[in-house]
Subunit: 256 residues, 2 copies
């Protein structure tokens, strides 16, 4: 049975999409069948894999609001073992349209039910908000991976996110685990970067991944070629870091 991991943090620009694309691609390279779901109306995960959101006719919005079969929406990518459920700007409408539905927090859980047996991993890229679409992702997920940028403001919102996760665990999804806190955009030369790493490791100890994602220009460049970093520059630090993250997650989940 496939494991569903949501990548969430309401703080903007912390590396959610970069982590979603490159973790999914790393799991695929290790031959685990993986589905990446773009749950952000900005559709950066779709464009980061080379699909122009303007050309996406049906996406996650249709699965959630019009209950279209996910099989009719999922795209294969250039990466073997990696599929994508794309998005476009229509997804913004779902935030409002889901509000009046009786099962509004469980629409994604319903849509993904049939898919869990077809994939080893399903990775969900969330938008920088804790609205209804992100709530849907946290209800559907088995665990949540929290990227935290090695910057001052990144620590501010962590408490609020952990509170929200507790509320979801208590009322909507008892089985929701924390897959881990992932430190991103680390630059060892900066005092601030090292301070944030120390703070996070002290406060959150064993839920912090060993793997730290370093700041690496190849990670910023790769999406402009529509490719995960492993396919843009396999020798880069970014590729190594995300491959190590995938291995750490596989080991933690007893999958070899």
């Amino acid at each position: 049975m496939g494991k569903i991991i949501a990548i969430a943090n309401q703080k903007g620009g912390v590396g959610k999409t970069t982590s979603a694309i490159n973790l999914a691609a790393s799991l695929a390279v290790l031959e685990h069948k993986t589905l990446l779901i773009d749950a952000d109306p900005q559709a950066n995960a779709s464009s980061g894999l080379g699909f122009d959101p303007k050309n996406i006719k049906i996406g996650l919005y249709e699965c959630l609001v019009q209950e279209i079969d996910p099989k009719d929406v999922i795209l294969t990518t250039e990466v073997p073992f990696l599929d994508l459920m794309p998005s476009n700007i229509d997804l913004v409408g779902a935030e409002i349209e889901l509000l009046d539905m009786p099962n509004r927090e469980r629409m994604m859980e319903g849509a993904l039910k049939a898919l869990k047996s077809q994939y080893d991993f399903i990775i969900i890229d969330c938008s920088p908000s804790l609205g209804l679409i992100t709530t849907n992702a946290l209800v559907a997920a088995d665990s949540v991976l929290i990227p935290v940028q090695c910057e001052y403001f990144a620590l501010e919102g962590l408490g609020k996110l952990l509170n929200t996760i507790k509320i979801i665990q208590n009322h909507l999804n008892k089985g929701l685990d924390i897959e881990g806190i992932l430190l991103t955009m680390y630059d060892g030369r900066l005092r601030l970067s090292n301070q944030v790493v120390d703070d996070v490791k002290t406060h959150f100890q064993d839920i912090v991944f060993e793997t730290i994602i370093q700041r690496n220009t190849k990670l910023g460049e790769a999406p402009s070629f529509g490719l995960p970093v492993l396919y843009h520059d396999a020798d880069s630090r970014g590729s190594m870091n995300y491959l190590n993250l995938a291995k750490e997650i596989l080991e933690k989940n007893g999958i070899f």
Copy 2:
């Protein structure tokens, strides 16, 4: 009469808060009476000026939803000529509670009316979304300043934001101008950075500010000291860049 400038872009982590704090502080250093409004429930603008959001008992939420007098909410900061209307996490509630109000898009406009004559500039820091609170800011504003990070994903959302601004100009705020597009986190050594600058200048020509904000560690460090960068390290590139931006805006608006 004070000019209200909203700092908005639904893409996360592009430098909205950093620009709001440091532009406001630069205008204050040039002795223009300035109010910074924190319209993001993450409350990074509040904490970036040294106010712990947990200790903020009343903030923008109370002004919008309970129509409390802004004078009872506004705080003076350590920077002469700079006041702050703080926020805390309660502001998340406004996104839902405003939905049922008849004048839901105009609540901020109403709250700020009496303030325009007391300040030369009112700067509004928006959250990474185009929800009701950001819409309120765009309706209340005379102009919008759009930070664009010199990264690939940053260009993706610009079209959507400009569309939203057009809709607001047509239906809710005819007088809303674009103050300008501000390129942020520029690193001249990176090919991608230079590519984004070229693309933005080609597409948007005369609405792009001359001033470009360079990537500068002092800008990332300053909020951890609760200070604008001008007060953390006045000789830094970050301080120079934002001071130049303030001067460019003053000149553009015929204010010397």
